[in-house]
């Protein structure tokens, strides 16, 4: 039996979705808030990306970043995180706070409620001057985002993954980088971002998660229902992803950089997302191909041939993409490419051992079981389900994986299409 606890669903009077999970597994309580926006165009994506980093500079109640940090330190070093993420063709503005459970300290105040208040102040009650965000804060946000976009190339692996996605989904929204573009930042320099943000708060889905050793779910619901005040008129859906099924961008591209190891990204299309009947077969397929250390790619490319230190695959379950990622020698590129094609063909032809399927299932089940041991993972997994309209319990997921048949895996294999190779190679001396 898995030891797990589930989220219970609530809705506040102003249409904020609240999910509360009471569990005494963790020594902290975790509160997480996502604002969900469609990935629309580079200007909007850039504006959205700026928002969390402007809010982080100061709010009405804690008007400077120093005041914010002081409050967090007073809350026993509560951990605040703001970020922007992409899930399918949705852009998530993310805010979270994790705080020590009251029972470990002699505090007269309810720290969790203070953390809930804090998050409210940060998100809903920003620092405003003359109906605008403080210009200094906007500028700091702009500098930050601009640097972040530039520094993507510092991490060669992330860079290759992002570039591979961009090439693969060239004329689709998914190719928009989570943090927007320099051009988008520039284009929106004179927009009133506060006016824009009020619109966001009004019309976007807002999903709040509370997980931890709380007194009672009702208590948390009442508290948030009464305190998360905002005049809202929700208009946008949770998911804005468009699935492309043909006319793919077949491309093979190399870029030079001053590096010692070549990095490869391989893009694969798969027309299956979380609410497709073959979704669980897809997770098994991905595991057989490259998700684990017994997978076909790792087995052949690292264990057998010693061509790479790392080779793995990742599954984008909202847009339907598989991405293979490896660090290799440039000279081995054609060999590695050939092996990848062979492995895809093998699964298509049913050349998958019973063992490989069994091991993969066991590993996947184990992965889902242990997922519930991490409060952040629980929230992230549940949110992906929400976006895809599938609020599956862990028990359901595990049962579904058990039931995947070999024919289902072959069906998936016949649906995938390799479309993109992106290679970052050592370049000649730039001087």
């Amino acid at each position: 039996m898995i030891k797990t606890s589930e989220f219970n669903e609530y809705k506040t009077k102003n249409d904020i979705d609240l999910y509360v999970n009471k569990t005494d597994k963790f020594k902290t309580n975790y509160i997480h808030l996502d604002i969900i926006r469609p990935l629309s165009d580079q200007n909007e994506v850039s504006k959205n990306a700026l928002i969390p980093y402007i809010l982080y500079r100061g709010s009405y109640k804690y008007p400077t970043n120093q005041a914010i940090s002081r409050e967090l330190d007073k809350l026993f070093g509560a951990d605040l995180n703001v970020s922007v993420a992409r899930r399918g063709e949705n852009q998530l503005l993310r805010f979270s706070i994790e705080i020590i459970n009251d029972k470990f300290i002699n505090s007269k105040e309810n720290l969790t409620k203070k953390a809930i208040d804090f998050l409210y102040q940060l998100v809903f009650n920003p620092f405003v001057v003359d109906e605008k965000f403080k210009s200094d804060y906007v500028n700091k946000g702009r500098t930050f985002i601009s640097e972040k976009i530039l520094s993507l190339k510092n991490d060669k692996n992330s860079y290759v993954i992002e570039r591979c996605y961009q090439e693969m989904c060239k004329d689709e929204k998914f190719s928009l980088y989570t943090l927007g573009t320099q051009k988008g930042l520039y284009n929106t320099r004179s927009d009133n971002l506060y006016t824009y943000y009020r619109k966001i708060l009004k019309e976007s889905p807002i999903e709040v998660f509370v997980i931890g050793d709380i007194n009672s779910e009702e208590d948390i619901y009442n508290y948030i229902n009464n305190n998360y005040k905002y005049d809202r008129d929700r208009k946008l859906p949770l998911n804005n992803t468009v699935m492309k099924t043909d006319h793919f961008n077949y491309v093979e591209l190399a870029e030079e950089d001053n590096i010692s190891q070549s990095r490869l990204g391989v893009g694969i299309r798969v027309p299956i997302t979380r609410n497709h009947p073959l979704y669980f077969a897809l997770t098994v397929y991905n595991g057989i191909l490259g998700g684990f250390s017994h997978s076909k790619l790792f087995n052949t490319i690292r264990k057998e041939k010693g061509l790479a230190y790392y080779i793995n695959t990742r599954l984008e379950t909202t847009k339907g993409l598989i991405l293979i990622n490896a660090g290799i020698n440039q000279d081995d590129y054609s060999t590695v490419k050939k092996i990848i094609k062979e492995k895809l063909a093998e699964i298509r032809e049913g050349k998958v051992s019973k063992e490989n399927i069994e091991w993969t299932k066991k590993k996947l089940i184990s992965k889902y079981e242990t997922l519930s041991d991490n409060n952040h993972s629980v929230v992230n997994a549940f949110l992906l389900g929400l976006i895809n309209g599938k609020k599956d319990s862990l028990n359901f997921v595990i049962n579904s994986i058990k039931q995947v048949k070999k024919e289902d895996i072959i069906k998936v294999a016949k649906m995938v299409q390799l479309t993109t190779y992106f290679l970052l190679i050592p370049g000649s001396d730039p001087n």
């Binding site: 330190d73 007073k74 026993f76 020590i100 300290i105 500098t143 091991w359």
Partner: protein
């Protein structure tokens, strides 16, 4: 045998030394699905030298501990990894400065996984062909790290801080150093370091005590063997090896790091832990986001969100590292050093109490993750300390401890400066053989 309840932090701790010398630590986690075991071998990248009973010295090539970590997975018919995959467990390993750690995670097959883990580590079979194969894999690993600016700034800092102490070498070694490895050297290293009394087994999760402990007691029932050699580490001078180093990489803007070296006054082991926390708290007081220094530096555009600091205390070494990304290289370095030197002028008891609470909060947060916990236990175990006592250590720390440590490690001492400059940007698109 030790069994202790830590009521305040809601933890339990069990420790036993088996006849053969294996130390076993078990931490029950009834509410978790994950069951974790890690075998920590007390041999890391700094273990390169032994002295035998006649006074003769044995030297090993740089990177040997890490190579051993790889090769133990690879040396049999069929991969070791597959044994674990078959039962849904995951196995992996990592090599640190002082330890090599082999671990698995499982949900249902704990005892079987444990048998596999001990089996492949304790009964190796070195094969020259596999050794050659693994050299290629590790060369790729070395290349991967070489391209990482964060890793480079860390590695270069160690290179400049230390003259002799092998913490200065890349854990994986170099393409050249691993080339010299063969079956004979590896067998010799294994025989010397992979003794059961040089290992600790840590288990965390909802694990049934009795069958596991019975199995372990029966397996490791033979008494300890005599050791006729001992580990030797070089004596490291107090001063730094070189004050400044610059290199170029393909990055978006320059990276600087400043390092301060702990004097080699190797205090008592419990003092080392205290020194670790004291110095980290001290850095938090100086550079933490709550106080003015950070915001003055931030508002002068000398540092940004990427700014970080930490102090790393290990068995025989300690150093503080300040990291920033900036275009104003010299200005930032000077400003950071100035702030570090003036700490004694703006100490503040109120800030100290807040920083202390922050560390208490952080300690509890660290208990949420089984992997974080196991790595901390290893670190503390190296120093014969118990991680769960850390909460008491934190509470016992006084502001005076910080002031004293400040004068020892920072105040007007010579730092190392590492600067990574940006190679002129030149990204070109080249079409390769089109599809």
């Amino acid at each position: 045998m030790i069994f202790k309840n830590y009521d305040k932090i809601e933890e339990r701790y069990f420790q036993k030394e088996l006849k053969a010398g294996l130390k076993v630590i078990l931490i029950p986690r009834d509410k978790f699905n994950k069951k974790h075991a890690i075998l920590s071998v007390n041999a890391g990248s700094v273990d390169l030298k032994l002295k035998d009973s006649k006074g003769g010295m044995i030297n090993y090539p740089i990177g040997i501990a890490h190579f051993m970590e790889h090769i133990l997975f690879e040396n049999r018919e069929g991969s070791i990894i597959d044994h674990f995959s078959r039962i849904g467990s995951s196995v992996n390993a990592y090599t640190g400065f002082n330890n090599t750690n082999y671990y698995f995670n499982t949900t249902n097959n704990f005892l079987q996984s444990l048998k596999y883990l001990l089996g492949f580590i304790l009964k190796p079979n070195f094969d020259q062909q596999r050794i050659e194969h693994e050299k290629n894999v590790i060369k790729q690993e070395i290349k991967m790290y070489k391209d990482s600016p964060g890793w480079q700034s860390f590695y270069q800092l160690l290179q400049s801080l230390y003259f002799e102490y092998p913490i200065k070498y890349n854990i994986a070694g170099t393409a050249e150093s691993i080339e010299s490895l063969d079956k004979e050297i590896l067998e010799d290293f294994y025989q010397k370091y992979y003794r059961i009394d040089n290992m600790t087994l840590i288990m965390i999760g909802d694990i049934k005590h009795d069958p596991v402990l019975n199995y372990l007691s029966n397996t490791f029932s033979v008494g300890k063997k005599k050791r006729d050699y001992k580990k030797v580490y070089p004596v490291e001078p107090d001063q730094i090896q070189s004050a400044q180093k610059e290199l170029q990489m393909s990055i978006s803007r320059p990276i600087i790091s400043i390092g301060y070296k702990e004097r080699s006054n190797y205090s008592q082991k419990s003092e080392i832990i205290k020194q670790d926390i004291v110095t980290n708290m001290l850095l938090e007081m100086i550079f933490g986001k709550s106080n003015d220094n950070y915001h003055n530096l931030y508002n002068s555009e000398l540092i940004d969100e990427n700014f970080s600091f930490n102090y790393m205390r290990e068995k025989n070494t300690g150093f503080a590292k300040i990291y920033a990304e900036t275009v104003h290289i010299d200005k930032t370095i000077n400003a950071l050093i100035e702030v570090l030197n003036k700490f004694d002028k703006d100490v503040n008891l109120h800030n100290f109490k807040i920083v202390k609470n922050k560390y208490i909060g952080r300690f509890y947060r660290s208990l949420n993750s089984i992997e974080t916990l196991s790595s901390q236990i290893i670190k503390y175990n190296n120093l014969e300390q118990n991680y769960f006592n850390l909460i008491n250590t934190i509470e016992s720390i006084k502001l005076d401890d910080l002031i004293k440590q400040h004068s020892l490690i920072f105040n007007n001492r010579r730092p190392v400066k590492i600067i990574i400059n940006n190679i002129k940007d030149k990204l070109r698109k080249t079409p390769c053989n089109a599809k």
